[in-house]
């Protein structure tokens, strides 16, 4: 941000302010004293983990990052819950995810944090280690939640240091959106989108012969990096090794995946230099035929008039079926001072919403609970159940503390440079991997201390 000062005298002040940059926040927060560490984490408590709440009326603050089409659905659920519970009032606050993960720890630390929140599974480790969220084993126990109630991966992702920190709400994998208008133009069957590498590449040639760039590749995390992660898994690769001490994304699988994407650009199936969201806008405007994007776009595309589209699982380009997915989890914040009543009420709230997850599925999500996912009602959600076909082979980013800090400066950059044809895929990934190894080592030291 360009800052302006009105007088020369304040120029010095500007410089001094700069000096203090990065320190200011730390100062303000440190001044508040008594951190999460000095706060005896409240676990269990009376009432048994969330079956019911009989205490005095409480107000719960519930924060999340549902800024898209999913926000109104969650708000409706929250209102319904408040209406059904006389002694619990929930107020919802929505902050964009990127800012959310920056603000929540600061707010919790200063005692201004929410009572309940949502976090992605890959953020659970970081926030557990930093004392932002509380263990929820008692909730899982009291509600009788078992691993067999959930998809295994989702269930496992909520555990850090042998304790449960997240109650899984949903999964949101990638899928293949296809533009039926363009498929007809290219003489393809609009109800039979390509699902294998052979068909996919053949379809692209058909598009090309009609002057259509069939599969735009974004150089940004949304959607390029997530597409690359899906392909990496498909070629049998992984982001990190088993105990997340070494980056493995520069393996042959990673290079092959990235090369395949880069070749789409080189062979004219995607423009060069696709800007942020351009691939998504182009899809809506009948310019991009096969668009890899997340389940959360379903409702956004439904609102576009004259857009004739469908969605299926991502095609299998590599040697196995695989796709990237994220997962939203309920968390309870580490409040100072802890309020038994609120924590109890928060558990009731989580349990209630978790059981309503069919309503949440309509927002464009796959319910984490098997019973809901297998219900008749969910099967009638046409697009969502297409995405749900991928549940057996979804891949998550491992929930290791500090893992979120590794991606932005490593493979996000590698994919960006490769897709923009600045650097060869292998060189870009090797470079990113050696940096990632340093960061992983730093994280290990940091979170052990």
């Amino acid at each position: 941000m360009v800052q302006r000062r009105l007088s020369v005298r304040r120029l010095t002040r500007q410089e001094f302010l700069l000096l203090g940059m990065g320190a200011g926040a730390g100062l303000a927060l440190a001044a508040c004293g008594g951190g999460p560490q000095s706060n005896p984490a409240v676990q269990g408590g009376a009432g048994g983990g969330g079956k019911s709440y009989e205490g005095p009326k409480v107000e719960l603050a519930f924060w999340n990052g549902f800024t898209g089409g999913d926000g109104p659905y969650m708000r409706e659920l929250v209102e319904k819950f408040s209406a059904e519970h006389d002694n619990i009032d929930v107020s919802m606050n929505t902050i964009e995810w990127v800012d959310y993960y920056q603000k929540v720890p600061a707010a919790v630390r200063s005692g201004q944090g929410p009572d309940v929140g949502i976090m992605h599974s890959d953020q659970l480790g970081t926030n557990a280690a930093r004392g932002v969220i509380l263990p929820l084993d008692d909730v899982a126990q009291a509600l009788g939640l078992k691993e067999s109630d959930f998809a295994t991966l989702v269930w496992q992702a909520g555990i850090y240091n042998n304790q449960r920190y997240g109650i899984p709400l949903d999964m949101h994998p990638f899928g293949l959106y296809y533009n039926k208008t363009l498929m007809e133009q290219a003489g393809l069957d609009p109800n039979n989108p390509p699902q294998t590498r052979e068909d996919y590449e053949a379809a692209l040639e058909e598009f090309k012969s009609k002057g259509i760039q069939g599969s735009w590749v974004s150089p940004f995390p949304f959607t390029g990096v997530l597409q690359w992660e899906s392909l990496l898994f498909q070629f049998g690769g992984s982001l990190y090794n088993e105990d997340v001490t070494q980056a493995t994304f520069n393996s042959d699988a990673g290079v092959e995946a990235l090369t395949w994407m880069v070749d789409l650009v080189k062979n004219g199936h995607s423009p060069q230099n696709v800007a942020q969201d351009a691939e998504y806008v182009a899809f809506q405007n009948d310019k991009n035929a096969l668009h890899w994007n997340g389940i959360w776009q379903i409702n956004a595309f439904k609102e576009v008039e004259d857009l004739d589209w469908g969605v299926v699982p991502v095609p299998q380009i590599g040697s196995e079926k695989a796709v990237w997915s994220g997962s939203h989890n309920f968390v309870i914040m580490n409040q100072t001072p802890p309020d038994q009543n609120k924590q109890q009420a928060a558990r009731v709230f989580i349990n209630w919403i978790s059981q309503q997850s069919i309503e949440w599925a309509k927002a464009g999500q796959i319910p984490a609970r098997n019973s809901v996912r297998e219900s008749q009602e969910f099967q009638t959600l046409e697009e969502q159940s297409q995405f749900a076909k991928q549940v057996p082979y979804v891949h998550f980013v491992p929930p290791v503390p500090g893992i979120g800090d590794v991606q932005p400066t490593t493979f996000d950059v590698a994919v960006n440079e490769a897709v923009l044809l600045k650097t060869e895929p292998k060189a870009a990934l090797d470079d990113a991997a050696s940096r990632a190894n340093q960061l992983l080592e730093e994280n290990r030291q940091k979170y052990q201390a």
């Binding site: 941000m1 700069l18 203090g20 320190a23």
Partner: protein, 321 residues
């Protein structure tokens, strides 16, 4: 009365042996030694709270591996600084790349932001119909927030679906200029939008400076037979010297602090080429919670800015001799 005394005390050092000024000096300070500090107090309180303490505390943080939520904040001495100058460290590459980006942006934008607003101010200083309208029009973009400006230009400059490329194609020119995703276009976009956005501010400062130049100097120059260009060189420019110094210094500092435009419009692309220093500091300190490293980066950046500012002042002073 009182103000007269203060002025006297500050500007006229009492000549040795003369009684009167000395007494007035003494009267004031002797009356109550606390008084000057009381006058300073309101500013001093703000200065200490929001500048001095954070500066010292920030330096303290920069000597640690500091995450405000973790119990362990190990003291590492000058390690964070050493890392910034050690090519094999995690922070070295990103930091110097971001400093390079900041340096480039400053280098490209400052000359334009110094010269173009001056030309605008010279024109707006003339008498013509609709002058006030144009003055307002040039200043208008400056009142917009960076978020508005950023999103506006992102729509305009989008390489694939943006209006700029659309109009270029209507004119029969190439329509695939990667305004936000490739060099040098990304810099052209960032500098261009920043000039559009902030030139009004510098122009207003110049305008005020122009109106301070006494009319009779122009009249005298005209009598001496100076033409418009000579009048500009010999009257306007010297008259604008202090204003020019001010504009150059604040423009450099402002450009070095650029963040929002790159964050919103190019998102650092291609690769990290347009990820500027402030962005990296925010990212490191507030997103990755590496406050020690971020604080160290801030101090190095501030040091650079101080050197540049001091060099500016020295340069202008030299010109005065």
């Amino acid at each position: 009365m009182a103000t007269g005394q203060i002025g006297g005390a500050q500007t006229a050092p009492p000549p040795a042996g003369e009684g009167a000024p000395k007494r007035s000096n003494k009267d004031f300070i002797g009356a109550n030694p606390v008084t000057p500090y009381l006058f300073m107090a309101p500013y001093l309180v703000l200065f200490v709270t929001f500048v001095l303490i954070p500066v010292v505390y920030g330096f303290w943080i920069s000597l640690h591996t500091w995450d405000y939520l973790l119990p362990g904040k190990p003291f590492v001495g000058l390690q964070n600084y050493v890392d910034l100058f050690t090519p094999s460290s995690v922070t070295f590459d990103p930091f110097w790349q971001s400093m390079e980006a900041t340096g480039k942006f400053t280098l490209y934008s400052v000359p334009l932001l110094v010269v173009i607003p001056l030309l605008v101010a010279l024109v707006l200083n003339q008498n013509f119909r609709g002058r006030n309208f144009f003055r307002a029009a040039y200043f208008a973009p400056y009142v917009l927030g960076v978020a508005v400006v950023g999103i506006l230009w992102r729509f305009l400059l989008d390489p694939n679906v943006g209006l700029v490329n659309y109009y270029l194609s209507q004119l029969g020119l190439r329509n695939d200029i990667p305004w936000t995703t490739a060099l040098p276009w990304a810099w052209i976009s960032l500098v261009g939008m920043t000039v559009w956005w902030t030139l009004g501010f510098n122009a207003v400062i110049y305008l005020a400076g122009l109106q301070d130049i006494p009319r009779d100097l122009y009249d005298a120059a005209a009598v001496d037979g100076a033409n418009a260009w000579q009048r500009f060189l010999n009257v306007t420019l010297p008259g604008l010297r202090p204003v020019l110094l001010f504009v150059i210094v604040i423009t450099i500092v402002a450009s070095a602090n650029m963040f929002g435009q790159a964050y919103l419009v190019t998102q650092g692309a291609p690769g990290n080429d347009t990820r500027v220093a402030i962005w990296l500091i925010v990212e490191t300190g507030l997103r990755q919670f590496n406050m020690g490293a971020a604080a160290a980066m801030s101090y190095v950046l501030a040091l650079f800015l101080m050197i540049v500012s001091v060099a500016n002042f020295a340069l202008f002073r030299q010109g005065e001799d």
